[in-house]
């Protein structure tokens, strides 16, 4: 009996979940604090959650190059997990910075908002460090349940209700597929542990052609492709992104998407590496479809939030190209691209937070008319983010796309890279349209409502620095990303 306890303690290894543990503890303390705070004061909660993000960032960085494994092989806090943890923390930190003034303007200064962001981030961390299907599933659900609430957070706004309800129903639907996929893979391999699953499949090649394994792979991919908003599972994305509070839209497009990629890559390469031929041929088609659907439909949008929603679908397609390549440069390119996308997309949404008015009826192209002359610095920041989203040098978006497409070419998927580049060209149209509105159209009304507030400006400045640094000197981050591969 004592021996059993000894084995259990050795195998649990709390250090392996330290970052998410710290973040969850802060989240729970904040939850209690909110109960005792006067209603209508959310600023202390915002600062507290910012401290939580910074402390967790320090704890996460301390784990770099010192991998910890625990929970009977279920959790690995390796460099891969740490790299993604930093992405999630950057996304959450920038979201918190831009949220406070926004919540006050919209009349929902509620501290629980930040608690949910912390829990969603902790869920993402569990997902990135999980090496067991059970762990990855749990992380995904911690993340999703927090996000369902956040999407429907403005409970008196019909748009937000609708965003939350649609996200919830379709999210739970896709969870069913994901679970069925996990069940079938368990039936074939007899384990949830990805490393043992990988060993089993490579030792029993006949398992690859087992229809149960192929069906399991398809169903599991459906669940993940839903979360990363790949076509044809993207139907929820535009509605949820448009209806959700703007900072949450920004958060959803960066952090949780990166989390889904983290879990998906780990499962495909570690667990199902021997089935590579099956999943590359599936994801090849999905990647092309996602890029085309995202970019082509974005052209027809008039609402800027919705345009960025379709653009985020297209960007998921670019990142999928890296998974199809499945080589060192492609996968480290995805890691780089996720960080770059976090900076550029959150920056663009921070500008939208400033430009929007109460109730947000002001997010059409007309709302940006003449913006470039009325608020020149803000407009320059927006131009940098849009250039980065297009993939024009010297921005982070260019470097990220370069690595991903280089990976695809190296793996022999030249046509995939060509389609990706052509899609980037299509995307110029709808990004440039925003710039044309900013600089070449007369303003329809004055811009008195734009109040620069220090935290939002800080988030924009951080995002600009991130985009330019990763664009001009990508070498440092890409070598970190290469070190982060498992």
């Amino acid at each position: 009996m004592e021996n059993l306890v000894q084995i259990a303690i050795q195998n649990v290894n709390i250090d392996a979940i330290l970052p998410s543990l710290v973040l969850c503890s802060f989240g729970m303390v904040l939850l209690l604090m909110n109960a005792f705070m006067p209603r209508g004061k959310s600023t202390p909660a915002a600062w507290f959650s910012l401290v939580a993000i910074i402390v967790t960032g320090i704890v996460s960085l301390a784990a770099w190059n010192k991998p910890e494994f625990g929970f009977f092989g279920g959790v690995a806090l390796d460099n891969y997990a740490t790299f993604f943890n930093i992405i999630f923390l950057v996304a959450a930190g920038l979201t918190i910075l831009m949220s406070d003034d926004y919540l006050k303007r919209e009349g929902y200064p509620v501290g629980e908002f930040y608690t949910l962001i912390l829990f969603a981030t902790a869920g993402s961390m569990v997902m990135a460090s999980g090496t067991n299907l059970m762990m990855i599933f749990l992380g995904l659900e911690i993340l999703s349940v927090s996000l369902y609430v956040l999407a429907g957070f403005f409970r008196n706004q019909t748009k937000s209700n609708e965003a939350g309800l649609k996200y919830f129903l379709l999210g739970a639907f896709s969870t069913g597929f994901l679970l069925y996929g996990i069940a079938l893979l368990y039936g074939v391999t007899g384990t949830f542990d990805l490393a043992r699953m990988g060993e089993f499949v490579s030792a029993n090649p006949e398992a690859i052609s087992n229809p149960m394994a192929v069906a399991g792979l398809m169903l599991l991919s459906t669940g993940f492709l839903f979360k990363i908003a790949a076509a044809p599972f993207h139907m929820w994305t535009p509605d949820t992104y448009q209806g959700a509070p703007t900072p949450i839209t920004a958060f959803m497009s960066a952090g949780p998407k990166a989390a889904a990629f983290a879990g998906f890559i780990r499962i495909l390469i570690l667990g199902l590496g021997s089935m590579k031929a099956e999943w590359t041929s599936l994801l090849w088609i999905i990647a092309v479809l996602t890029m085309i659907v995202g970019n082509v439909i974005a052209i027809y949008q008039t609402d800027i939030k919705r345009t960025l929603a379709y653009s985020s679908i297209a960007h998921a397609g670019y990142a999928l190209v890296g998974i199809v390549a499945a080589n060192e440069i492609g996968v480290s390119g995805i890691l780089f691209y996720m960080l770059a996308y976090t900076f550029m997309n959150l920056g663009a949404f921070a500008v939208l937070v400033l430009v929007g008015k109460k109730g947000e009826e002001n997010l059409t192209l007309d709302g940006f008319a003449g913006f470039g002359y009325k608020r020149p610095w803000l407009a320059i920041a927006m131009v940098i983010f849009l250039f980065s989203l297009m993939g024009i040098p010297p921005t982070a978006g260019f470097a990220g796309k370069f690595y991903i497409f280089a990976g695809a070419v190296k793996a022999g998927y030249i046509w995939l890279a060509v389609i990706g580049v052509l899609n980037s060209a299509v995307s110029l149209y709808y990004y440039l349209r925003i710039m044309v509105a900013m600089y070449f159209k007369a303003p329809t009304e004055e811009f008195e409502w734009i109040k620069m507030s220090a935290p939002v400006v800080a988030s924009i400045v951080i995002a600009v620095v991130g985009v330019l640094y990763m664009g001009i000197l990508p070498g440092g981050v890409i070598s970190l990303a290469k070190n982060a591969l498992f």
């Binding site: 039936g187 509605d239 919705r306």
Partner: protein
């Protein structure tokens, strides 16, 4: 002796019924019940496979799935209540302010 195949076929049928319900029904609560049916079909698969393989992992997973489903139900019903308060309806066809 009932072989594992019967359980797998039964759960596949239950899962398909759930999917069919989600795609055809209009009331959000009924849609959510169909999703629960899908999750429980998966639970049955887990239990049957766990018994067949002589491996407890699958049964442990079922406990997690049930806990997660309960959390999802709490959040989902709350979202439906807020939707109902503003719209006086739970019909998913009424969720139509956001479209392309």
């Amino acid at each position: 002796m009932i072989s594992v195949n019967y359980f797998l076929v039964l759960s596949a049928i239950l899962f398909s019924l759930g999917v069919f319900g989600v795609l055809t029904r209009k009331n959000s609560i009924v849609v959510f019940m169909c999703i629960e049916l899908m999750l429980n079909a998966v639970n049955l698969t887990f239990i049957a496979l766990s018994r067949h393989l002589g491996n407890m992992d699958g049964q442990v997973f079922v406990l997690f799935v049930m806990a997660v489903a309960a959390a999802e139900a709490a959040v989902g019903l709350a979202l439906m209540i807020t939707f109902f308060r503003n719209r006086e309806s739970l019909d998913i066809d009424d969720a139509n302010t956001l479209k392309w």
